[in-house]
Symmetry: D2
Subunit: 203 residues, 4 copies
């Protein structure tokens, strides 16, 4: 396999990229000057050196040049409200909430959703780490922020049941993001679940 | 214009139907037997004879064979809670809420949304009829159930402002369907407005 | 079932129309005045009375008010070239070729494509009628104009094999529509078959 | 701007990639191990070292390890027919024709299409290089293989007019890829141009 095909194979692993677009990426790189390729190449290598996974919230973050702490800028920001913890599935969900500038508490990246069919405690999500974190903090509320899908709903249910014994004695409230009509929802095409929540949460 | 083209012109006025599909409808009718065409034709004529617009909620409904009342079966059902009134834009929105079987109050079909740009009280929605209806009833709550769009939001705002003077003295609460995450919402791709409501309405 | 649901059932049989859109058609009809419904209803009934299937080409056509001939205006037009016969699957294909104003010969509507899997001569296409028609005319060329799909290709192959014994002695040429790049074709995304034909038919 | 955002900026320049997907690519790279990133990074750098642009056809190709010729394996293959030259817009078009294994002549990558509105000879396509190539070779036919779009048609027209004075005295025929029905074409939905070509090129 030549270098064109080898590189296309790598691009094919990128999320949402098929064989054809992978090949187009390679042609695109060939058409750009060497400078572009070298910069891109260096940025990819540097990424792994310049980012770290936060030991508190498990999000990826840029390492501070001066202070090589392994705690991200959100977790180390004293102005943030450390009595609230919002739990998301993945980094991009966290970014979405963060960019809204509407939440000022702490975050925790679970690292995945809990599959519906598995019986044993799933090892692919950070349940142990989450429990540890809750115990050590002065929390008043945990907000579960998972996508509205069967797996997201199951994860919400599962995490609630797993955290109950820890949260109840500590008087930590567990809440979930509110449900109802979201931007673009048309009443005519809404499913019963959405209408149910929209009626229940009317205000 | 021949009868094929004339009929295609009529189908072109159907919601969501372009010239090409209108023509296909005509070819489809030609390919079916006369029986099908005659039945369809009769059903269309009968529709106007067998349905009426309810004098209470303004929805279209099938006339009762025995009692030719102009009040629909929802408005005349004594088991429904007549202290709550849900206001929708159009019949299909009402159907969607009704099918969810989660609401047992009364309905009112506004007949449209209020355009954002118009200055005068829009005549195309049934504001006068709505005001009359509210005065005569024993209402405790009015629920506004419009789609989540700029025009839907504007209609919500406009109707609230128009009903305030009537509802306040009568102690009628005005609410709107709850907003938040709806079925299928992915946190990653949510807009700020949806995240704001989801955080505010968490529970 | 009430008249609303009954009519929706009929619209659901229209090509490309699902349950939801069928219901919207009914709501649309209810919202229009009686005049509209009555006209539509009458046009549908009249369609069957005012159109006939041409005894020559089997297309549906509007009956002439004066001369109630069962031969359509294309087949009875003496200015059309009756030495060429273009065979299509269905009326809407014929309309598409006709609207291009690039063909001045005669037409024949086969009434369907020949399924690939069936063994026996399919009875759903007008093969017998086609053979009769060819024998009686003074044809020089038959043009097969089927869509480019496995079933279209099979129909092309099948009709050729069935007509060979009639056409060869009469010196009637059988041709098929040319293949190659069509409007919108991008070389990058073309399949081998299209490239093969485009290379072969280059000019 | 931190390294996450910087890398996302680079991915945003990839063909067909928006801001959101660019960011997802970065999260994807963070989630993979260092090995993956390093390999990808090295392949990108190596690409520019291991490929060259062929001095004959201007396509990008993998450099031969032994013979560091700047002529690609297609242009240096003595089994290919050097009396035919197929001109394409870009590398991926050439790949598409090549993969069909239906053409055994030579290629030339023009490097772009000729914009319709520009008055001056466009400098962004390799017209000078093409003219030089034609003069030095023993060609019998030039095949223009551009996409079927207004700009593709214009490029076909423009290149023909530019090459006429060179090709006529040398008796080199200029042809274009054949037009007609392509895979998936439905007669019903064909435009007039496609029907015209399909009728003209029937066989």
């Amino acid at each position: 396999m030549d270098s064109i095909d080898k590189l296309a194979e790598y691009f094919k692993e990128f999320p949402g990229i098929g064989e054809r677009q992978a090949k187009r990426f390679v042609y695109f790189l060939m058409s750009r000057n060497s400078n572009y390729s070298e910069n891109l190449s260096r940025l990819i290598t540097d990424l792994k050196k310049e980012i770290a996974q936060c030991k508190e919230c498990f999000r990826f973050f840029n390492l501070n040049k001066i202070n090589h702490s392994l705690i991200c800028e959100l977790c180390s920001d004293p102005r943030r409200d450390d009595t609230t913890l919002l739990i998301v599935e993945k980094d991009s969900d966290l970014e979405s909430v963060r960019k809204s500038r509407l939440y000022n508490g702490m975050y925790f990246v679970l690292g995945g959703l809990v599959p519906i069919i598995e019986k044993n405690t799933p090892s692919q999500v950070r349940l142990g780490e989450l429990k540890e974190k809750i115990k050590g903090k002065n929390l008043k509320e945990i907000i579960l922020a998972f996508s509205i899908s069967p797996q997201g709903d199951h994860t919400d249910f599962y995490i609630r049941s797993q955290l109950k014994d820890i949260c109840d004695p500590l008087n930590i409230k567990i809440s979930s993001l509110g449900r109802g009509l979201s931007t673009g929802t048309e009443i005519e095409y809404s499913d019963n679940e959405t209408i149910k929540n929209a009626l229940k949460n009317r205000q």
